[in-house]
């Protein structure tokens, strides 16, 4: 099937098998390997991207379902060479160790802050429940998201 989607600002038209997952399309056809795969049951959230502005687990969406969509991945967050405030907050608060969960965690955190601009600790934990991290114990991730909330709030 022929599909067209915009990923991180670039438009791509490709023929894909109907069974191809969005995450496979991103990684294997478009070279967007910044988005990663951590499971095969939609449990880990490592593959999270934004589809038309909302976070989705890209392993639970077929590429053909994203026909015509606008996708943002971890690779498309920087503006003018500057990291997104959530990326920056992850760095400053040591919210990553191996970094494998990080792309998904950051994409989900941005979505979370869109809904809840000033989340409590509990709300951050709830909002990230579908994203697993094996390295950090989550404490610094929660801290980073709340720090980014402050940063983004100050900008508004």
């Amino acid at each position: 099937m022929r599909i067209t989607m915009t990923v991180d600002g670039t438009s791509y038209t490709d023929d894909v098998e109907p069974r191809t997952l969005l995450v496979q399309h991103l990684r294997e056809n478009l070279g967007k390997v910044g988005t990663v795969i951590g499971c095969d049951t939609s449990n880990c959230g490592a593959c999270t991207v934004h589809l038309n502005g909302r976070s989705v687990k890209s392993c639970s969406v077929l590429a053909v379902q994203a026909d015509g969509a606008e996708i943002t991945t971890i690779e498309g967050l920087e503006r003018d060479g500057q990291p997104h405030p959530v990326q920056q907050a992850f760095h400053e608060n040591h919210a990553l160790q191996c970094g494998f969960c990080t792309p998904g965690m950051i994409m989900q955190s941005i979505d979370l802050l869109g809904d809840t601009p000033d989340p409590s600790e509990e709300q951050v934990r709830e909002g990230l429940e579908g994203n697993l991290c094996r390295c950090t114990g989550y404490q610094n991730i929660v801290k980073a998201v709340r720090a980014a909330a402050g940063e983004l709030g100050a900008k508004r």
């Binding site: 098998e17 496979q24 990684r27 967007k32 390997v33 910044g34 988005t35 990663v36 795969i37 951590g38 499971c39 095969d40 049951t41 449990n43 880990c44 490592a46 991945t73 971890i74 690779e75 967050l77 920087e78 990291p83 990326q87 992850f90 760095h91 400053e92 040591h94 990553l96 160790q97 191996c98 970094g99 494998f100 969960c101 990080t102 792309p103 950051i106 600790e121 951050v124 934990r125 709830e126 990230l128 429940e129 579908g130 994203n131 697993l132 991290c133 094996r134 390295c135 950090t136 114990g137 989550y138 404490q139 610094n140 991730i141 929660v142």
Partner: protein, 788 residues
């Protein structure tokens, strides 16, 4: 003499590694694509034990894009046996450990056939077309039953018992006879604990890519141990070592789970070489949970003897350890590492340890964060609480009565290790203060009195661990096949920038940052001017890799030694350039100057450029400053800490909530507090997960029923509390940085703290033990069963 200024050590530097990782500019093995690359998929046995009959691969071979199909028979001549580097006894029994099963399968998930195809999807499609006749054999799953040899898995071995390893303090001359101690004791506490089987569950599934097209066969692998892997490929498969290059690119966590030489690596290597094309294999999460090695899995029988006042007089430990179906890299040694840690921080006059390693039809066990030491720490810290209850004193008091006092260091323990330093008093004082120990005890009493449906429990764990693995002589005495040294190289570039090569291979620990801090301090160059290289045997030829909280304690010291050599190499050149005597020079903050003059000297960068030009060097001077050093530690290091956990247990539902968790760790000198604290957090998460959530469960047929992240409960952010962490600092005296290691501390300490807290909440109902993980169901049942 050399003076350094501590500008960097101890500073909470944010990490150099992050810039790439937060922006998706990553090099996970699965991201790498090579020209002409083929993909491999593996057919895995659905049964735990069977003879292999006919394997029909015709349909698979004819399937679209399929280049080749291999079975065990096709690779029998060259696959050899997967290596085990730790034969713990002379007469250890070990079955053949093929990468791909040939005549029988011995655990569910074992490789049975392999498809190589143009795409990963085509390879997986074709795997589904292979038909295998399995001739079922009786499965051996239960550890105690297996040890009884009712059904023997490998008839040629004659038993399911691989080895029996014993330490006895009376025989070793390090203590008394434990049977005497038990006979003469006022109080004897006997308990049986179970260490459930766990899965390391690193977030990046394992991936391996083999490129046979260059002069060397290159293997990219998501491994913790590129150096060991290269050596083992050479020794086990007969390919000359110099014809192999191993690269560990970005690696997404390991926790011991990637401290392995795997069937998947061997298969990809053999098949890539046979086909003459790059071949990649990336496992699915299900395969990862099924076939990557598991951890823990022991039954512990403990006997603690004490006087009426709570003074310990002896400890006897009898273990059964589940090896799984065969011995992998360090499988048999894992429980043995625990042998030295059951005595923990306590003065125990008599000690006996025995362990029987047993085969079952499950995936092999091997290192998982802490490896042997969490099991031991759990055993002794649970027993200390039991003793406290028996005697009727506070669990902190019983510990204090028995621990090694600050002024007694260095102290040689009953299991013969010499602890160089420690201050259990200080860590405990700080932890109880942060925790609000008396206040929580008061609240607990109130709730008990009022019959509150939600009861409060307080758990204590005062742990130590041996890390910085390891003095090579000690490893030799334990029959481990390799040494425990580490290697570092320093390259001074002409512009004054520095490249550092380390033999320890990180996968999330932040070596680039911490090593840069050490270099910046020692050489007086800016932190930003240091690049840290690792994980490629062509760049880093020598190394022992990353595990056992060894990177900083061994690799960091190797780096310090190499840096000191750079300075000593630069000194005569500085003297020449300054027209001064070498003895009059001092090296401070990156510059050589004449002592006492205060005059401007030459910087190490100036000298790096001067040696590059080499126009004006003293006679005989080598025109570079590059240096390298290997360092073999003289002793282990012994981090310790006091962990306190308060749980709320809903007695009506059995649900456990961690109300507060406080830990004060003593890891000696801290190079980077941000990274150290992060290691503690992550460790706590894994230890708490063992206490409350995780377990690899098999059904009666040996099928892993927790083969997805929906069933194997890696905790989410909702499942974990906020931790309160702090540190005391008692420097190690056995190394020049005073560091002790931190990677495993949280995992080792937290499991018993949490379980002790759960029990403390429900002990009033007559509950003496709850098996891990302490799920609501188990807790509820224990309350029902134990009450009145």
């Amino acid at each position: 003499m050399t003076e350094t200024v501590d500008r960097e050590l101890g500073k909470a530097r944010t990490r150099k590694e992050d810039a790439r990782l937060i922006s998706g500019r990553t090099r996970w093995t699965d991201n790498i694509t090579l020209p002409g690359m083929l993909h491999m998929a593996i057919l895995r046995s659905p049964v735990a034990r069977a003879g292999i009959g006919k394997i029909d691969t015709d349909q698979a071979r004819a399937s679209s894009g399929v280049v080749a199909v291999f079975t065990g028979a096709d690779l029998a001549a060259e696959q050899g046996s997967l290596p085990c580097a730790w034969p713990i006894t002379e007469d250890q029994k070990s079955p053949n450990a093929p990468s791909i099963a040939d005549t029988t399968v011995n655990f569910a998930g074992e490789a049975v056939a392999v498809v190589v195809a143009r795409s990963a999807a085509e390879a997986r499609d074709a795997v589904d077309l292979i038909d295998v006749d399995y001739e079922d054999l009786p499965v051996v799953l239960d550890l105690e039953t297996a040890a009884g040899d009712e059904e023997v898995i490998y008839p040629e071995l004659g038993t399911n018992c691989s080895a029996n390893w014993v330490f006895d303090s009376a025989q070793a001359g390090s203590g008394g006879d434990v049977e005497d101690a038990i006979r003469d004791a006022d109080v004897v506490v006997r308990r049986k604990f179970r260490q459930q089987r766990l899965i390391p569950a690193f977030m990046e599934p394992r991936s391996v890519l083999v490129d046979p097209t260059g002069p060397q066969t290159t293997m990219y692998s998501a491994t913790q141990v590129p150096h060991i892997l290269r050596l083992m490929l050479a020794m086990s498969l007969g390919v000359p070592e110099h014809k192999i290059r191993v690269i560990a690119p970005d690696v997404g966590g390991g926790f011991g789970g990637k401290l392995q030489v795997t069937p998947e690596e061997f298969l990809t290597f053999l098949i890539g070489r046979r086909l003459g094309k790059p071949v990649k294999y990336t496992e699915t999460r299900t395969e990862s949970l099924l076939a990557a090695h598991h951890g823990r899995d022991q039954i512990q029988r403990l006997t603690l003897a004490a006087r009426g006042d709570g003074t310990i007089t002896g400890l006897k430990v009898e273990l059964l350890a589940d090896m799984g179906a065969c011995l992998r890299l360090v499988t048999p040694g894992v429980p043995i590492l625990g042998a030295f840690m059951f005595n923990a921080i306590y003065k125990i006059p008599a000690y006996h340890f025995s362990c029987t390693n047993v085969f079952t039809n499950k995936v092999p066990t091997d290192a998982y964060r802490g490896a042997g030491r969490p099991e031991a720490t759990f055993g002794i810290e649970r027993m200390m609480d039991e003793l406290a209850v028996e005697i009727g004193v506070d669990p902190l008091e019983i510990r204090e009565k028995n621990w090694i006092k600050h002024e007694e260091f260095p102290y040689t323990t009953v299991s013969t290790l010499t602890y160089d330093s420690g201050n259990y008093e200080a860590a405990t004082a700080r932890a109880t203060e942060l925790f609000g120990y008396p206040e929580l005890r008061a609240e607990q009493a109130r709730r008990r009195e009022n019959g509150d449906p939600v009861q409060l429990g307080i758990g204590v764990s005062t742990f130590t661990e041996m890390c910085g693995l390891a003095p090579s002589r000690v490893l030799g005495s334990l029959n481990y096949s390799a040494g425990g040294w580490e290697h570092a190289e320093v390259r001074m570039l002409p512009t004054g920038k520095v490249e550092v090569v380390t033999g320890s291979s990180p996968h999330g620990q932040g070596h680039d940052t911490a090593w840069s801090q050490i270099v910046a301090d020692r050489l007086g160059v800016p932190f930003e001017d240091v690049e840290v290289l690792h994980g490629d045997t062509q760049i880093s030829q020598r190394g022992m890799d990353t595990y056992g909280s060894r990177s900083l304690v061994v690799g960091g010291i190797a780096l310090v030694k190499a840096l000191d050599k750079v300075i000593e190499k630069a000194r005569p050149i500085a003297a020449h350039l300054l027209e001064a005597a070498e003895d009059d020079l001092e090296f401070t903050a990156g510059s050589f100057g004449v002592r006492g003059t205060g005059a401007a000297g030459v910087t190490i960068a100036d000298i790096a450029l001067a040696v590059f030009a080499a126009h004006d060097l003293p006679d005989g001077a080598e025109p570079n400053l590059d240096s390298e050093a290997s360092y073999d530690p003289e002793n282990f290091s012994f981090p310790h800490g006091t962990h306190l956990c308060a749980t709320e247990v809903d007695t009506e539902t059995g649900a456990v909530r961690i109300r507060s968790y406080v830990c004060v760790d003593d890891i000696g000198k801290v190079v980077n507090p941000l990274i150290a604290e992060g290691q503690v957090h992550g460790g706590l998460a894994q230890g708490i997960a063992q206490a409350l959530y995780e377990e690899a469960v098999h059904d009666e047929f040996g099928t892993l029923t927790t083969a997805s992240l929906a069933d194997y409960l890696v905790p989410s952010a909702m499942d974990l509390p906020r931790f309160t962490t702090d540190m005391t600092e008692t420097p190690a005296t056995s190394n020049p940085l005073g560091v002790k290691g931190v990677g495993e501390a949280g995992t080792i300490a937290s499991t018993p703290a949490v379980v002790n807290a759960v029990l403390d909440a429900v002990r009033q109902f007559g509950v003496r033990d709850i098996e891990m993980p302490c799920t609501p169901q188990r807790v509820w049942q224990a309350i029902q069963g134990g009450s009145k």
